[in-house]
Symmetry: C2
Subunit: 319 residues, 2 copies
C-alpha cells in the first residue's frame, strides 16, 4: 500500500503556466514552483523541464519512497485513460499519454484528471466545499472551467469528459467563441476574454457614452482595467459586469436545475471583481430558478488560491 507515504506531488497544467507542489497529508503545500507550459513542441521536453525542477524538491523531502505518487490536472485530461486528448489550448496535439510518460520518468504512480475537476477536488477536500456532497465549481479565468460533484464524486461521464459547462450555449446565435467556433457559449461572455470583448462591444455600440475605458487602447483593455474603472465609479464598466453577471447567473440557474447542488463555488481571476460580479450573478440566477430551487443554493467565492486548489486537488488523486 502506498497510502502511508507522507507526501504527494500535485501538478496543475494550465494553458500558459504549469504549477506544481509537494503536498502533505494535512493539505499543506510545503514547496511549490512553476514553469511555462507551451515553450515545448514535444511533451517529452516539457516533462524533462518538470523533472529538472521537481526532482530536487522530491529529494529534499526524502526521495520518491516518501511519495504516494503524482496527481495531475490538465485541460482535456482523462481520468480513465491518463491521456490528454485534443486540448485546444496546448501545443501537444492528438492524444498524449502523459500519465504513462510521467510514471516512466519519475518512477511514481501518476493519476491524471481534467484541470477543473482537480480544482473541484481541492475544494472538496481542503476548501470551502469540505464535507459538501453536491456542489459545482466554476473557474472564471481566461476561459470558463467547471467541476461537478454529485454524491461526493466528481462527475466524469461515460467517457471521462463530462463537466464542460463553459461550452454550454446560453445565447443561441450570440457571440462567436474564437477557438471553438461556437456561438453564444458561456465562456464567450463570462471569462476574462469575454469581459474584454463585452467592453469593446459596448464602447462601439454606445459612442455617445462617456467612459474612463475610452482612455485605454484596445490592446490595453482587459478585464482588470474594466474592474479598475468600475471601482472608480465608471458607469459603462459597471454595466459590463452587470451584463456578465446576468449571463453567468442564467447559466448557473440551468446548472442548478440539472443537479441541484448545495453550493456553487466561483474562482479564477474574474472573481477579483467581488460584488460587482456576484450581485448581478446571484440576482439573475435566482430569477431563473423554479421556486423549489430558489434561495437554497449557496453561491460563494473560493477561499483557496486558484493554483492551490488545483495542486491540492491533483495531489488528492493519489491518496
Amino acid at each position: 500500500m502506498m497510502n502511508n507515504k507522507p507526501y504527494a506531488v500535485g501538478i496543475d497544467v494550465g494553458g500558459t503556466t504549469t504549477k506544481f507542489g509537494i503536498v502533505n497529508r494535512d493539505g499543506e503545500i510545503i514547496v511549490q514552483d512553476r514553469l511555462p507550459t507551451n515553450s515545448h513542441e514535444l511533451v517529452e521536453e516539457f516533462i524533462n523541464d518538470v523533472y529538472v525542477k521537481l526532482m530536487p524538491m522530491i529529494q529534499n523531502a526524502g526521495g520518491i519512497e516518501n511519495f504516494a505518487g503524482i496527481g495531475m490536472g490538465a485541460p482535456n485530461g482523462n481520468i480513465y485513460t491518463g491521456t490528454i486528448e485534443y486540448a485546444p489550448n496546448l501545443r501537444w496535439k492528438g492524444i498524449i499519454p502523459i500519465a504513462q510518460l510521467m510514471e516512466k520518468k519519475f518512477g511514481l504512480t501518476t493519476k491524471l484528471t481534467n484541470d477543473a475537476n482537480a480544482a473541484a477536488m481541492g475544494e472538496m477536500i481542503f476548501g470551502c466545499a469540505k464535507g459538501c456532497k453536491h456542489f459545482i465549481t466554476i473557474t472564471l479565468g481566461t476561459g470558463v472551467g467547471s467541476g461537478i460533484v454529485i454524491d461526493g464524486k466528481i462527475v466524469v461521464g461515460h467517457d471521462g469528459f463530462a463537466g464542460e459547462l463553459g461550452h454550454t450555449i446560453i445565447r443561441p446565435g450570440g457571440r462567436m467563441h474564437k477557438s471553438t467556433g461556437m456561438r453564444g457559449s458561456l465562456e464567450a461572455y463570462a471569462s476574462a476574454t469575454g469581459v474584454r470583448d463585452t467592453a469593446i462591444e459596448k464602447l462601439q455600440q454606445f459612442p455617445e457614452k462617456d467612459s474612463l475605458l475610452r482612455d485605454y487602447s484596445i490592446k490595453d483593455l482587459t478585464s482588470q482595467t474594466v474592474y479598475e474603472c468600475a471601482m472608480r465609479g465608471d458607469k459603462v464598466a459597471n454595466e459590463i459586469f452587470e451584463f456578465t453577471g446576468e449571463i453567468l447567473g442564467e447559466s448557473l440557474a440551468n446548472f442548478v436545475m440539472f443537479s441541484s447542488p448545495e453550493k456553487i463555488v466561483l474562482f479564477g481571476g474574474l472573481t477579483k471583481a467581488g460584488n460587482l460580479l456576484m450581485n448581478p450573478t446571484r440576482k439573475a440566477m435566482e430569477a431563473n430558478l423554479l421556486p423549489i430551487f430558489q434561495n437554497k443554493v449557496k453561491l460563494i467565492f473560493s477561499e483557496l488560491k486558484e493554483a492551490d486548489a488545483a495542486i491540492l486537488g491533483a495531489s488528492a488523486l493519489v491518496w
Copy 2:
C-alpha cells in the same frame, strides 16, 4: 427482508391521469388500471379511490404478504421525504406526505420519487438503457420531464429535486411559459403545448404561407394535427418540427456537456413524430457539441410505453 416477495405495486401519478399496476420480478406488468388524478380536492379521497381499485388486484395476487411494497412516481415527488412539494399541476397544494398516507392505508412500505425519475429507472432496469450507467431520459409530453442517471444512480441532488431539465432556459427572453412565468424554457418549445404554440405563431407570422394547418380552428390545433399535416407533406408543419428539434437539440448538447451520457432516451407523446423530430434534433445536438463529444451519444426513442416505463420504474423503488 421484503425482497423475496414476488410482486410490487408501481404507481405513476400524472397531472391528468394516475396509472398503476402490479409488477412481477421479471418486470412484467401483470395487471394495470388508471383513474383521474385531479378529481379530488383532498389527497385522502384520491388515495381512497386508488385503494378501491387497487386492493382487489392485490387480493387476487395473494394479498399484501406477497408484495414487497408500493413505488410511486409523482410530479415534484421527493425521494428523501416521501412528500409531493408544491406541484404546480396537481390540485393538492403545499407539502403532501403521500408515501406516509399510502403506507397507512395499504399496510405496505411505500417509496416515492419524481415521475420522470421513475421513468428513467424503468428504462434502466427494463428498457433500452438496460446495463447503461450514464444516460438521460427526456419525456416530451404535455410538459418536458427528465431523469438523469450518472454512475448507475438517479441524480436527485442535495434536496431531492434535481433533474428539472424542461425548465432550463434555452431562449433567454423568449416565449413565456404559462404556468411558471419563465421565458424561453425548453418546455415552452419542446412539449406538445410548445408545438401547438409554435404552430399558432408561425401561422400568424407568415400569413402568406399556405398550409393545411389553416383548415383547423385554433382550438383543434394540437401537436397531433401538426404531425398529421407534416406527414401529408405540409411545409409549414414540417418547419414546426424542424424548429422544435433545433431547440431540443441545442438543449441536449448542453446536457451532454454537463454529464457526458452514453445515451439519451426520448419518450412521450411527441416522439410519435419519429424522424420528423429526431432528424433536426440530432443535427442541432451534434452542431452544438465540442468535438470531443460529437458522434458519441446514442440519441434514441424509448421502446417502452410511457406509462409502462413509469409504472415499472416506480415499482423498482421497492425491490
